[in-house]
């Protein structure tokens, strides 16, 4: 795979990933990850201090599935949808079929509850610090670290970033 194909594969994954979340097809969200995998949402505040605990930490695909079941069946929150805007992908390292990439994101959240219906606000900005594996032309996340600049979470975080 040359550099251009590699970048294409990474970009395709990022686009498909954010589109899946924005389209509320969350049951498919875990399939963007390998198993085992790591999905972490943490803040620069914690990272800079070397602190391990952040907002979300999952180390298996099943933990991601459990998050989705909890979101659908257990958790209570204001109904909303996301729109992810993502920057160009910067490939920061490759080793065989393992790729490191950084992508900035911004998520706008639109509320669908009767009080705030149709209001959109900038909900979170940050950077995806990803490790991907490309197998047979298909890229998956082995590790996705969502490094959140917006440490001050508005209300709550239930839909994945």
């Amino acid at each position: 795979m040359d550099a251009r194909e590699l970048r294409f594969a990474v970009e395709e994954l990022q686009y498909a990933y954010v589109h899946c979340i924005d389209a509320d097809r969350l049951e498919q969200w875990p399939d963007f990850f390998t198993d085992p995998c790591r999905y972490e949402v943490t803040t620069r505040e914690n990272l800079d201090q070397g602190l391990s605990v952040g907002i979300i930490y999952c180390d298996s695909k099943d933990m991601l599935r459990d998050r989705v079941v909890a979101l659908r069946e257990a958790n209570i929150y204001g109904p909303h949808r996301y729109r992810h805007m993502i920057s160009a992908v910067r490939v920061t390292g490759t080793e065989g079929n393992v790729v490191q990439a950084e992508t900035n994101y911004a998520v706008y959240r639109t509320m669908l509850d009767p009080i705030n219906y149709g209001s959109s606000e900038l909900y979170s900005v940050g950077s995806y610090q990803d490790t991907l594996i490309i197998e047979q032309g298909v890229a998956r996340f082995r590790e996705k670290k969502v490094l959140v600049d917006t440490a001050r979470v508005l209300s709550l975080l239930v839909t994945p970033l």
Partner: protein, 434 residues
């Protein structure tokens, strides 16, 4: 007189059951909010502001809040803790402009007035003038121009400050029952594991009620039931300090058979055994504490222990209809690698994305949204009766009643002499007659 009058009329219209209802006005009024800043956050009580483990070394500082007032806590070269309002004595600028750090002194960037770690003014540029400039008048006294110092005390590594000159000792403020629980949680040196922040569009007292309310736990937070962690049929209850201003909620599992029996026939949605975790490692922990505990220290601290997750939550009011919640997660300094991994994973249960507790901020918000126009209407806080007393039940709102009783006392509203069914109005005790 004017402040009293502003408060007087709306409060006097309130005549509903004072021990077991809360007029929505207290969640809406900026006048009430201002008075809280004066009488609670700057009042004759202690407010939690941080952990000693956040400022472990000499010269470490942390910028934080007392109510909505920005303050700094720092550790002097001799290890002593000091706290002061984060506002330059000169022209009022924010002196400490970073969240955390380590400095031998604090210098305001505006005109470089400099303060030592006790908050004393130790440097003023051009104080004695320069060339034709005369500098400060000779009667300028640096000692009268220090940062506004706060009383500081810590208990088991939790730092509290008081704005008031006369305040009972911190250990008395906490009381025997609350100290006993703090002693259990902070039984050895801790290590901070991380911080998260949540910004909620609701009055801070809606959250203060929430964390004193075990009744909602099994009904709002469905993760517990969905994955089999908690039911109202569990054992547990509410313990107060002797003024019922602080609360300790505890719950523990009874036998499966007892719990199922207690739910049978109630038709409550909360008992559902339909889901299991695909990855049960989330809930795998070590026996450490019996059950779950949520301790509230009036007005702005929560100490939580949910399985192996330990955290303090600092409630920061940001106006009548907004507050911020800062979680600081911790473990113990002697945790082995496995225990660190357990705490890391179980942190998923709490915080802004907490599988178990993310709903609390949302619950506060949907109240704030709905009460918007009806200041005269009131909530019903009758579960378990009208009493404010320790209770061996989780289906009770006694903790909320205790909070309001002490709140009214500090705010200067009369506290009903008895807790029976009199429909005494919430009259203004101290300033109504002025």
């Amino acid at each position: 007189m004017s402040a009293a009058n502003e408060l007087q009329s709306p409060w006097l219209t309130w005549e509903k059951d004072p021990t077991a209802s809360v007029p929505y006005q207290v969640f809406l009024d900026s006048v009430v909010y201002e008075r809280e800043q004066e009488r609670l956050f700057r009042g004759p009580i202690w407010n939690y502001v941080g952990l000693e483990a956040e400022v472990p070394n000499a010269q470490d500082f942390k910028a934080t809040f007392l109510g909505d007032t920005p303050i700094v806590i720092n550790r002097d070269k001799d290890g002593a803790l000091h706290a002061f309002v984060n506002r330059c004595a000169h022209r009022g600028a924010l002196v400490c402009r970073e969240l955390r750090g380590n400095r031998p002194r604090h210098t305001c960037v505006y005109h470089q007035w400099t303060y030592d770690l006790k908050g004393n003014l130790v440097g003023v540029p051009f104080k004695s003038g320069l060339g034709n400039a005369t500098g400060l008048p000779s009667d300028f006294e640096p000692a009268h121009n220090s940062l506004h110092k706060l009383r500081v005390a810590s208990y088991r590594g939790m730092i509290f400050v008081s704005y008031a000159r006369d305040v009972e000792p911190l250990s008395d403020y906490l009381g025997t029952a609350m100290r006993a629980h703090i002693d259990r949680v902070f039984n050895r040196p801790i290590r901070v594991l991380g911080h998260t922040r949540q910004f909620v569009n609701a009055n801070w007292k809606l959250y203060a009620e929430n964390v004193r309310d075990p009744y909602h736990a099994s009904l709002l937070h469905l993760f517990h039931m969905t994955f089999g962690m908690y039911r109202s049929s569990q054992g547990g209850g509410v313990t107060f300090d002797n003024k019922a201003r602080h609360t300790l909620l505890q719950s523990y599992r009874r036998s499966e058979a007892e719990e199922v029996a207690a739910y049978k026939g109630t038709g409550i949605r909360s008992y559902q055994a339909k889901y299991t975790l695909s990855d049960p490692s989330l809930l795998k922990g070590r026996p450490e504490f019996p059950g779950l505990s949520i301790q509230t220290i009036f007005p702005s601290l929560v100490v939580q222990q949910i399985q192996n997750t330990l955290a303090v939550r600092h409630i920061i009011p940001r106006g009548p209809d907004r507050f911020e919640l800062i979680f600081t997660y911790f473990g113990y300094a002697d945790d082995d690698a496995e225990m660190q991994a357990i705490r890391h994973k179980q942190a998923n249960l709490v915080g802004p994305a907490g599988l178990v507790s993310m709903e609390d901020g949302h619950a506060a918000e949907i109240v704030q949204q709905a009460i918007v126009r009806d200041k005269d209407a009131a909530s019903v806080v009758l579960m378990g009766g009208r009493e404010v007393a320790d209770e061996e039940s989780l289906v009770t709102e006694t903790g909320i009643r205790g909070f309001w009783r002490y709140y009214r006392e500090l705010m200067g509203f009369s506290v009903p002499a008895s807790v029976t069914k009199e429909s005494e109005s919430w009259t203004h005790a101290s300033s109504v007659s002025q």
